[in-house]
């Protein structure tokens, strides 16, 4: 860690991206590092479905990020929905209720389905498989690999290595 700090040093002035922009950039990218059970993978040429369930803090940022993602011939489309109804077909789901308890009930509705749920510490303590936090001024995340295992998802070690903490699968 120390080595990193020293190497970064003073650099040229640059505009810092917003927290939302970086989170939006992460979301479609996660699909690259997760393996879904065979029957749930998108068909040939069909896109991964990234669902925003509840509040949408990203708006256009997420559509832009998703439009640029191409994973083994699969694009990523963004779907937005107020509740978990109609979330069939979602591969990834960013879940955020109007208030913290709403997030919990949305997550409960997705429990035990092969969906990579993603939550944000800013919206409350309730956690999906991936939980965004701000660590040291950077967007980072916790990964609940045990919850991923329950859903039949397998997360690549490259993504696990980026997590600030991992709850291991049993």
């Amino acid at each position: 860690m120390l080595a990193l700090a020293l190497l970064l040093g003073p650099g040229p002035a640059r505009a810092q991206p917003s927290e939302e922009a970086v989170k939006a950039a992460f979301l479609p990218r996660f699909a690259r590092y997760v393996t879904w059970p065979g029957p749930f993978l998108p068909g040939p040429g069909a896109p991964f479905q990234l669902c925003v369930i509840g509040r949408d803090p990203f708006a256009r940022l997420l559509d832009q990020a998703a439009a640029r993602e191409l994973i083994d011939g699969h694009g990523v489309v963004v779907r937005r929905m107020p509740s978990a109804d109609g979330s069939q077909g979602c591969h990834l789901a960013f879940v955020q209720g109007a208030a913290a308890p709403d997030t919990a009930s949305l997550l409960a509705a997705l429990r035990r389905r092969p969906v990579l749920t993603i939550t944000d510490a800013r919206a409350g303590p309730h956690r999906g498989v991936i939980h965004f936090v701000i660590a040291d001024g950077r967007v980072r995340f916790f990964i609940d690999d045990a919850a991923a295992a329950e859903r039949g998802l397998s997360i690549s070690s490259r993504l696990l290595a980026l997590a600030v903490g991992v709850r291991q699968r049993r």
């Binding site: 860690m1 590092y33 997550l107 701000i134």
Partner: protein, 638 residues
């Protein structure tokens, strides 16, 4: 996996990422220059290393809380000139903050301010109540958290509703530290100034998979302040340290928090003067189902103060439970708490003693509140709190609130609440025979009427306005025996009312300029009740300025540079009761922070920049002059 992570970090830094996609990009700087927010070219590792501009809490959707609530965020504190918790509270326009001397502050909402009379405020630090049962006030010099780890401070003016514990009469200050998962990494801070120095360090790390832990320590020194013509000669220089930890451990449906601090401060008044103490808190939150949650919290707190031949020690055990249930249009919260304190007060300075000098006290409270959606835009919040202490019978404190949110940008609310301040040890058991005898002092009572607006009336501007009318009864007086003889006793002889308002706004004038304005006003009308004559000349009402005005500009011309300038105008203390009148004042503070790199930040800050000295308190037993103070500092993160 640890090895992998180290390899990756070094790899990113040198831009020799092992992964194919990242290696394909040949960027000359560690983190590529970003002209726009086009992040699609970055690898996932680079995204994780990218410093971000944090979203301001105030840009989030309006909270539906129908109270006069002001929120001080972590960023507000970092870019202010505040170097202590009381100084940070100056950011809230709904508080009156008086620096009494180098270590003592008098802080109050909606009146009654002075060190001895600001006794109607509930102050919570991570759920731990810190007002003292000795006089129901707060010893701010014992509260020295590392400000970088404070997530936010909620300041409520008014009774605060059902959900807060005992003593939430005129306001609530709730200080929340950051979840340990938000403080991963190391941070070191040092400041050097004309009259003050500080140093602090924190290290946070992931622990046990989903959990995280941080350890911190800080040290500070504040030199003596100049003597005030109306104040005492005793030295007020003050220095001390604090260290502690916080761990957060989420598991499926559960969240465990454990935290603790120890501290020690020395005051220059006499050798050996100062305070020390510590606390340990555990909290368990369980999500029972999607619509119900349960929380259990317990803590232990010990503090000991020595000052001018007096010794005051206090040991507190507290246990609280809360259950949240939602069904249909109802949002129900019920809970209860139990607190026991054991104190000791020994005074070798003068004849005032507590009788008995050692005492265990109990406080019980239980509450239930329902937030009921009458229509999609109108909610009714009805609650009742029951409270009993060793000095009182069962007291019922009902609260009724109406919230109307016609659109997401507008909240109108009104409330009526009953609140009481239960007797403190001093109220009941202070004795100086044959002059002063203990008494049967009863709770001070309040019925508060409030109304307010919070919303976004025009683009880029948020506005909050609240008005109140408070009817008080049984406020403390000091009286002769009926018929005029000794001993004198503390009685409940005053009644009256206060009225006033608070308003604040934030306007984003340009992408680089934000302007915050605040104003608060209070007027008091009190009289002795028939048959009562107050020897203390209504001293219990405190000393409050009628008007306070605040303006604060946050200027962010380039990304690495941030300048904050605050100006405040505080009215005179001239209520002519119990203490000399003093003039109002205008003062300014500023903070200039330059981020040299993502790891290194330099800042210069100053308080009270307009005058060499000024007086904020008319406390003849304590007041010293507040003074211009400039300091320089650095923060290093790695």
């Amino acid at each position: 996996m640890t090895n992998r992570r180290i390899v990756f970090l070094l790899g990113t830094a040198a831009l020799a990422c092992p992964a194919t996609r990242a290696a394909a990009q040949d960027s000359p700087t560690p983190v590529p220059i970003l002209a726009s927010q086009d992040l699609s070219e970055l690898s996932i590792e680079e995204l994780a290393q990218l410093p971000v501009r944090s979203a301001s809490k105030r840009e989030e959707p309006l909270s539906g809380a129908p109270t006069a609530l002001f929120v001080i965020t972590n960023g507000d504190i970092a870019y202010s000139a505040a170097n202590s918790l009381p100084e940070a509270l100056r950011l809230a326009p709904n508080l009156n903050v008086q620096q009494v001397n180098g270590r003592e502050y008098a802080i109050s909402a909606r009146g009654f301010n002075s060190v001895e009379t600001s006794n109607k405020l509930l102050v919570l630090i991570d759920g731990r109540s810190v007002y003292s049962p000795l006089h129901s006030g707060v010893f701010w010099d014992l509260r020295t958290p590392m400000l970088e780890d404070v997530a936010q401070i909620e300041v409520i003016s008014g009774p605060g509703g059902t959900l807060y514990g005992p003593n939430a009469v005129n306001g609530v200050i709730s200080i929340a530290s950051r979840d340990a998962s938000e403080t991963i990494g190391a941070l070191v801070r040092g400041t050097v100034g004309t009259f003050e120095q500080s140093a602090a360090a924190r290290y946070g790390f992931a622990l046990g998979g989903a959990g995280a832990m941080r350890l911190y320590a800080n040290w500070f020194n504040f030199d003596d302040h100049p003597m005030a013509s109306l104040g005492p000669a005793a030295r007020d220089g003050y220095h001390g340290w604090r260290a502690g930890f916080r761990g957060d451990f989420p598991t499926a449906g559960n969240h465990f928090t454990i935290q603790g601090d120890i501290y020690e401060n020395d005051v220059e008044s006499l050798p050996g003067d100062g305070s020390r103490g510590g606390n340990l808190l555990g909290r368990w939150r369980r999500d029972i189902s999607a619509n119900s949650a349960f929380q259990l919290q317990g803590y232990y707190d010990y503090s000991e103060r020595r000052f001018l031949l007096t010794l005051d020690s206090l040991e507190t055990f507290d246990l609280e439970a809360q259950l949240n249930l939602r069904f249909g249009a109802h949002d129900l919260v019920l809970g209860g708490g139990l607190r026991t304190t054991r104190d000791e007060f020994i005074n070798n300075l003068n004849g005032f003693q507590l009788n008995p000098p050692r005492r265990r006290l109990w406080t019980y409270n239980a509450f239930v509140q329902d937030r009921f959606a009458l229509t999609t835009t109108l909610s009714l919040i009805a609650g009742v709190k029951a409270e009993q202490t060793s000095f009182t019978g069962l007291q019922l404190l009902p609260n009724l609130r109406l919230a109307w949110q016609p659109d997401p940008r507008t909240l109108l609310w009104a409330a009526v609440s009953r609140a009481v301040r239960s007797p403190s040890r001093i109220d009941r058991q202070l004795e100086f025979l044959p002059l002063l005898a203990t008494s049967n002092f009863q709770s001070e009572r309040l019925i508060a009427f409030e109304a307010g607006y919070r919303g976004q009336p025009i683009a880029r501007t948020t506005l909050s306005i609240s008005a109140f009318f408070n009817r008080y009864d049984d406020i403390r007086t000091t009286e002769f025996q009926p018929g005029g003889g000794l001993p004198i006793q503390l009685m409940n002889g005053l009644e009256g009312h206060t009225y006033g308002f608070e308003a604040w706004s934030t306007t984003q004038l340009a992408t680089w300029l934000r302007l915050n304005l605040g104003v608060s006003g209070i007027w008091k009308r009190f009289q002795e009740k028939p048959g009562h004559a107050d020897l203390a000349r209504r001293d219990a009402l405190g000393h409050d300025p009628n008007l306070q005005l605040f303006a604060r500009a946050e200027i962010n011309p380039v990304d690495r540079l941030r300048l904050t300038i605050g100006v405040r105008r505080i009215g005179a203390l001239n209520d002519q009761v119990g203490a000399p009148a003093i003039n109002g004042y205008v003062e300014a503070d500023a903070n200039l922070t330059y981020r040299l790199s993502d790891a290194l930040e330099l800042f210069a800050a100053g308080n009270n920049l307009l005058h060499d000295t000024h007086l904020e308190s008319n406390d003849t037993g304590r007041a010293r002059l507040a003074q211009r103070s400039v300091y320089f500092g650095t923060r290093v993160r790695f």
